[in-house]
Symmetry: C2
Subunit: 120 residues, 2 copies
């Protein structure tokens, strides 16, 4: 069994960790944890992401095996994105980090204000 | 109770999430989860980080209230970094994401290779 360790500079798990914690990946995983969605639906829920950057994020997630992209033969054509079984195993750990950010945002903002007061 | 939601563009929890998932923060939290450490010790364990970037990461973590920096009145002076109680609550969620990266690195690398074969 190979041993991966993100603390080692040459370990490929580092690039995996980088992708998971890309700016938009945790939010896309959150949206797709509710089920498959079309590009426009994802973009509607992840506020502030540009079409270009969301396209890049989804492509990178597809390349990493986290998301499938399925073109439906409808008119107009329609593309659905869905978490793969591998992608679904990410929902819980990423939700824990996201939820930490939401639950502790106030404490962090207060800490920043205190720090900035001390430094000024 | 205020409601924070990282999916909302203006929500301050977004910047909190960004900091948690900064390139080096999960690794520094991992190292400090074993107890207080000096700058050089942290740098020795987080392979590949430059002194400049580690300094910036630790300062940002200190500002966010995750880490304390204590100067010891020794000769030469010595500075210890330690997780605050708030920082310690991050150990488990960040370890889950790091450990996902390590445990699934192989699957992700295989998915990338398959994807790149298809695209070429």
């Amino acid at each position: 069994m190979p041993s991966f360790d993100v603390l080692q500079a040459a370990c490929p798990s580092r690039s995996v960790l980088r992708h998971l914690t890309d700016r938009w990946t945790p939010m896309v995983v959150a949206v797709l944890s509710d089920g498959p969605a079309r590009f426009g639906q994802i973009r509607g829920r992840v506020e502030g992401v540009t079409a270009k950057v969301l396209t890049e994020t989804l492509r990178s997630m597809e390349r990493d095996g986290l998301v499938t992209r399925t073109a439906q033969a409808t008119m107009p054509p329609r593309v659905d994105y869905e978490l793969t079984p591998l992608g679904r195993t990410l929902v819980t750990p990423l939700a824990a980090v996201r939820s930490w950010a939401e639950q502790h945002a106030e404490q962090v903002l207060e800490a920043r204000a205190r720090y900035d007061d001390t430094v000024d």
